[in-house]
């Protein structure tokens, strides 16, 4: 029986996977994708599903591939940059294909809101020869996921479910179907040369892969997820969330327009697009990120010698970068209509105030939480290395926020796990400067280990600071191999970071209480003298996860109003009111400010 629930797009995808009877779900956390696996994990026991957070996206994909080879239905989830990590197995997999079913859920982040890149998984799918579905709403995300499992199973190919932030993290009323226990009556792995890739096998499979693209394009042309509506001489082609913005803009436009909504960008549904393009004078492509549909349409127009002029990003009608919304789309459509010489009925409403006329507002960048252990560690490095020339290579996680003033402790940040190798590279190039790499616990397991081995092997004289707060904090506190709990909350072996470091050949690998400023500073001073790579593991809680009821307050009798605590730390709980430093109710009681106050004016107490 169908029922309607208020669901986030990611939850809708998870429920659809369970409706489809998914057996195995893997993934690595990454905004905006993480809630898919979290939702399946919450339901794993009930529906007999195997769920794991894997160490990284490559491992997650490979694990899901193995399961699919055995005939299981598998899903793996990641964010767009995670697909870069998983690209090695992905590129080969397209030739081999799968047996059960494999859906790869990848979330793009136009904007970006919480990512290093604005890459477009539609283009990645084309590069990898893997079909990609591109929903516009949580409902479509649900419906397409169901279909993705079928497609994958029927055609023995992995299928990518690509979302964007607004689909993944938008909520809506979604109609869902029944979920029953996963069936483990699967065929099992059958030995066959088709599973072992060799140059010869690749050469054999390549024609199959190319034919499959044509077959898929035909299936997609017949799919209701690609539909034509309206009429006129002007056409609009759009996919993903942009379709919704187009629909809203068309409501204001007052013009006859033919619309092709694309739910399956790759393989491009050429027959459908041809049916749409016939008789059009102009085709406007509206899409976030890459000019993917625009290029496909240009090819179509060129190959079939159609008279239509194609407008989009390439001519500068629409922005190439950033997230779209109704305003951006209306603006682009107006530019196009002006170029075409058509009347536009769009009337932009006047706001009660324009942004530039608002009085000056405080700058509010994301920052480490009040009481975050990372602040203590960063501050300890600042103190311990005072006067020593040093470069701080950061990594991906909450601790990237250590870049903000007054800490200013992240000089480089590139991608998951890069901090250690970049510090090593810097050190080989500039040996007279101290090089420190910060890496979080989850990131350490994700991709820090090969870099540590490399630092040992090639004798990089760097300090590796592992910020171990026993969680994957930034993406919503998922567990990882270091803490002894699985994705479904079961106890398991806890892998020790210190032991890994030692077994990689690191001579100095110490664990330190990350909330004790003096212990941190002393340890740093010790390893600065050591030759070769050394590893300091700072351990402490994520205050956002382990809420503390401790609280500190400033004794007004003792405080000399020097403001040292406020100026040094940038803790969001510390502020100045009427020239007097004060601690807000958000204080998490980490005691860092108390540890640096020159006159010991900060004492336990205060509200909560």
């Amino acid at each position: 029986m169908n029922k309607v629930q208020f669901l986030m797009g990611n939850q809708a995808i998870a429920l659809a996977a369970m409706e489809a009877g998914v057996n195995i779900a893997t993934g690595y956390p990454g905004t905006p994708s993480s809630e898919v696996l979290e939702t399946i994990a919450q339901n794993a026991d009930k529906y007999d599903i195997y769920v794991e957070w894997s160490t990284n996206e490559k491992v997650a994909l490979e694990t899901a591939i193995g399961a699919a080879y055995a005939g299981a239905k598998a899903i793996t989830t990641m964010k767009q940059v995670g697909l870069n990590v998983a690209s090695d197995p992905l590129m080969s997999l397209s030739y081999i294909g799968v047996k059960g079913a494999l859906v790869i859920m990848v979330a793009d982040d136009p904007g970006p809101h919480s990512s290093q890149t604005e890459q477009d998984t539609r283009s990645f799918a084309r590069f990898a020869n893997i079909p990609v579905l591109d929903p516009a709403t949580p409902q479509e995300a649900h419906d397409m996921t169901l279909w993705a499992f079928n497609l994958s199973n029927q055609l023995q190919t992995p299928v990518i479910m690509r979302t964007t932030t607004r689909v993944s993290h938008g909520c809506a009323d979604v109609t869902i179907g029944d979920i029953s226990k996963a069936s483990w009556d699967i065929e099992g792995f059958t030995k066959d040369p088709r599973w072992a890739i060799f140059p010869k096998l690749t050469a054999q499979r390549h024609p199959w892969l190319e034919n499959l693209q044509g077959e898929l394009a035909n299936i997609f042309s017949a799919s209701p997820f690609n539909c034509i509506s309206g009429n006129g001489k002007i056409g609009i082609i759009s996919s993903g969330i942009s379709r919704k913005y187009v629909q809203e803009a068309l409501g204001h436009l007052g013009l006859n327009v033919k619309l092709l909504e694309i739910g399956t960008p790759y393989p491009f549904p050429e027959a459908k697009a041809l049916e749409f393009a016939k008789g059009l004078d102009h085709i406007i492509a509206v899409e976030e990120l890459d000019s993917y549909l625009e290029e496909q349409t240009l090819q179509l127009v060129g190959r079939f010698k159609l008279p239509a002029r194609v407008l989009g990003k390439i001519d500068g009608m629409f922005p190439k970068c950033g997230e779209y919304n109704v305003d951006v789309v209306e603006d682009g459509l107006q530019k196009c209509l002006k170029y075409i010489g058509a009347e536009s009925g769009i009337k932009t409403p006047v706001p009660i105030v324009e942004a530039q006329n608002i009085p000056s507002l405080p700058n509010r960048q994301p920052t480490l939480c009040a009481g975050c252990m990372h602040r203590t560690v960063f501050y300890a490095f600042k103190r311990a290395l005072n006067g020593i020339s040093a470069v701080f290579s950061g990594d991906i996680g909450c601790y990237t926020l250590g870049n903000a003033q007054p800490l200013d402790m992240v000089d480089t940040c590139l991608c998951m796990g890069a901090g250690i190798s970049i510090a090593a590279g810097l050190q080989h190039a500039q040996p007279n400067v101290k090089h420190i790499a910060f890496i979080g616990d989850s990131t350490f397991f994700h991709s820090g280990i090969p870099a540590i081995i490399n630092a040992v092997y090639n004798n990089a004289n760097i300090i590796i600071a592992v910020l171990d707060n026993r969680t994957t904090a930034m993406t919503g506190h998922q567990p990882h191999p270091g803490i002894g709990i699985t994705a479904t909350g079961k106890p398991t072996a806890a892998v020790s970071i210190a032991e890994i470091a030692r077994s990689c050949g690191v001579k100095t690998a110490e664990e330190i209480d990350g909330q004790n400023l003096k212990a941190c500073t002393d340890a740093i001073k010790r390893v600065v003298e050591v030759d070769g790579p050394s590893v300091l593991i700072f351990k402490g809680p994520c205050t956002n996860l382990e809420k503390s009821d401790k609280h500190y307050t400033i004794d007004e009798q003792i405080c000399t109003l020097c403001n040292y605590c406020v100026e040094q730390l940038g803790c969001p709980a510390l502020f100045v009111i009427d020239d007097m430093p004060a601690i807000q109710s958000t204080c998490a009681g980490c005691s860092l400010c108390a540890q640096i106050c020159p006159v010991d004016a900060i004492v336990p107490g205060g509200e909560d």
Binding site: H113, G170, I352, R364, T367, V576
Partner: protein
């Protein structure tokens, strides 16, 4: 029919919960809902907004500029920052209790509270300003300021569904541990508004 609500605040203030409660209530009232939330880096003390669109049809999740019928501001400067999103005759419910970012404390930017509050009042003729954080503390937890504001909003008749539906969503959605404080906060918000009305 369409009704667009923007909730603005600082990461950690409960903006996402507020938007979820509004969405659930609207669904109970038989409306379609789409929301867009800020999840990710900005949740760490950054500026966050949720867009909540209610109606008979389904739309894209983002409210266009000058399109919001209502802005619920959990914090004065964040309410002001989002005012270009408000319709000409739109309404605002604003918490006057500031969250002062570290950038202000260390002198890298400024926060002129009285100027910002005056600006909101002078620019939006339908603005209701209350110290929701103070009221929430009275209810037992400063963190339930978001629910105080919901109470004020509902009592002001600014939602396209009945107060009781929102109350029901609240009871179904909140964990038992926090339910009492939040119910109390909701009531304090409602009473606050009624008292304000009586004074006028």
């Amino acid at each position: 029919m369409r009704y667009d609500i923007l909730v603005a605040g600082v990461g950690g203030q409960g903006v996402i919960l507020t938007s979820r409660l509004l969405g659930l209530a609207a669904m109970k009232a038989g409306l379609h809902v789409t929301t867009a939330e800020t999840i990710g880096m900005s949740q760490r003390e950054g500026a966050v907004v949720s867009h909540i669109r209610l109606g008979r049809e389904i739309f894209g999740p983002l409210i266009p500029k000058a399109g919001a019928d209502l802005i619920i501001g959990m914090e004065p400067s964040e309410a002001a920052r989002n005012m270009p999103m408000l319709k000409q005759n739109g309404h605002m419910i604003v918490n006057t209790f500031p969250v002062i970012p570290a950038s202000v404390a260390i002198g890298l930017s400024q926060y002129d509270m009285s100027e910002i509050l005056a600006f909101i009042n002078n620019t939006c003729k339908n603005a209701i300003l209350v110290d929701a954080t103070k009221l929430a503390k009275q209810a037992g937890n400063h963190k339930s300021a978001n629910v105080v504001l919901l109470g004020v909003t509902a009592a002001a008749g600014l939602l396209p569904f009945d107060i009781s539906i929102l109350q029901q969503a609240l009871e179904e959605e909140l964990p038992k541990k926090y339910l009492e404080v939040n119910k109390k906060s909701f009531e304090i918000g409602i009473n606050m508004l009624y008292n304000m009305k009586n004074k006028i």
